[in-house]
């Protein structure tokens, strides 16, 4: 656990799966009795929550994908990861 309150290498909680819904053409997170929309930046972050990307690596890659300033992206990524953690969607 880093000082950000997140795992250094975030990954999805057991039983949570990122899935591309071909019928609705949308990324969703599947969890027990829950389907959560994961559109745009969310899916790009979640694809990298694989236990292999560090939080910093996720931020680096997102900055490239969205051609944005690293500092701006960093805030968004950490906020999103914290929100996911509170909702029990990330492994602890």
């Amino acid at each position: 656990m880093s000082e950000r309150g997140l795992l250094d290498y975030p990954r999805l909680a057991p039983g949570v799966r990122l899935h591309f819904d071909k019928v609705r053409e949308a990324w969703v997170l599947l969890a027990p009795e829950r389907v959560i929309e994961a559109e745009g930046p969310a899916s790009e972050i979640l694809k990298r929550c694989d236990g292999k990307h560090s939080v910093d690596a996720i931020i680096d890659e997102l900055a490239v994908v969205f051609t944005a300033e690293r500092q701006v992206i960093a805030g968004d990524v950490i906020e999103m990861l914290r929100d996911m953690a509170v909702r029990g969607l990330l492994a602890t």
Partner: protein, 370 residues
């Protein structure tokens, strides 16, 4: 535009060794000889995925009673569905659970009846059930298979809601379902023995936010509220024919598991129709979809798109008219009658259960832990 369903409840069999007096299966259980085979279930899952279903719940009865549960699980997973097993734990042991996980099972839900073995087995009507549940929950935790604990709440266990939720956390559950008994079918038969008092329900409802705080980030707590004492109806099933569908062991497709209690509805079978066609056009699904079927006070109600008029089966059971407002709504002319029925049932000294699927009533054994 007709919304696409997200979830499918696959009732693989109505066979079950347990006799829970609040079972959601119909009073007339379907016979084993009529059950769909594994190949037909595989086709149902492919059709479900193609129409947008994302999650399948393998249920029953006890799905473990199916010898081909492994193949059925495999086909659900192959279809790309998030695959959940809803089990009593009787008929699924550790070895079998490992096989199911290897075939793609994503998640398991195990029901518990109470904290103490004697009371739990009495409620389930099956000696030894509680011990098997404990063993299977431990196996799931050891296998890192995500676990939901489901607890149906009623008069015999409502006072132990808090320790029951703590117990679920100790078992390693990532989610617990606090499901107050819903009074259809078998539970309606047993209402006098199951109904808690209003005071008990109020206290149980007040506990939930505190328990959610206690387990924030560790265990999700979902609560199905008891609506007999409510003033607003629940959005039953998220609205009729809006989010989920139910396939019975013989292949009939229902908008909800109690829909067969409504007389005059025609249900189509997966043996004769494609699932998407059934969802869109079968009479049972179109009967109460949307708001056109509504009468007053629902028709002009500001909440009609939020609660969809509540539950059709409860409207039928209490008012005799499936298109009436759910009597749990304070705007229903039958609301006071429902409240009086609940209070009368709660005041009853009845403690004997009519166990589901069994002919005889239980002897009036006093509930051991109270």
């Amino acid at each position: 535009m007709i919304p696409r369903p997200l979830g499918l409840l696959a009732e693989l069999t109505h066979r079950c060794p347990l006799g829970c007096p609040y079972c959601s299966n119909p009073l007339a259980l379907e016979q084993p000889a009529t059950e769909l085979d594994a190949a037909t279930w595989a086709e149902v899952f492919r059709q479900a995925a193609a129409m947008g279903v994302l999650q399948v719940h393998l249920s029953g009865g006890e799905p473990g009673a199916r010898r081909d549960l492994e193949d059925i699980t495999d086909s659900a997973s192959q279809a790309g569905l998030y695959t959940n097993l809803i089990t009593s734990a009787v008929g699924v042991d550790r070895q079998r659970l490992q096989r199911l996980q290897a075939r793609g099972l994503d998640h398991i839900q195990i029901s518990f009846q109470d904290l103490a073995e004697s009371s739990a087995d009495h409620i389930a009507g099956y000696r030894g059930a509680h011990a098997r549940k404990l063993a299977l929950a431990a196996s799931a935790a050891a296998m890192d298979l995500p676990l939901t604990i489901n607890i149906v709440i009623h008069r015999a266990n409502i006072e132990r809601l808090e320790p029951l939720v703590d117990f679920a956390a100790d078992l390693g559950a990532g989610r617990v379902e606090v499901a107050h008994a819903q009074y259809y079918g078998w539970a309606l038969q047993n209402r006098a023995a199951l109904m808690p008092t209003r005071d008990q329900v109020d206290r149980a409802v007040c506990l939930i936010p505190r328990l959610r705080e206690r387990y924030a980030g560790r265990m999700a707590i979902d609560s199905v509220v008891p609506d007999y004492y409510e003033t607003r109806p629940k959005p039953c099933m998220g609205g009729w024919a809006r989010q989920t569908l139910n396939v019975t062991p013989s292949g009939l497709v229902l908008p909800c598991h109690a829909a067969q209690t409504i007389p005059g509805l025609t249900f189509w079978s997966v043996r004769e129709h494609n699932l998407a066609e059934i969802w869109t056009a079968s009479p049972a699904f179109t009967a109460f979809r949307g708001t056109d079927w509504m009468q007053e006070p629902c028709r002009s109600c500001a909440f009609r798109q939020e609660d969809f008029g509540g539950c059709r089966c409860q409207a039928l059971a209490v008012t005799g008219d499936a298109a009436a407002a759910d009597p749990s709504c304070e705007l229903s002319p039958t609301h006071a009658e429902l409240r009086a029925m609940a209070e009368k049932a709660a005041a009853s000294a009845e403690s004997a259960y009519t166990y589901r699927g069994r002919n005889r009533q239980s002897r009036a054994i006093p509930i051991p832990v109270r």
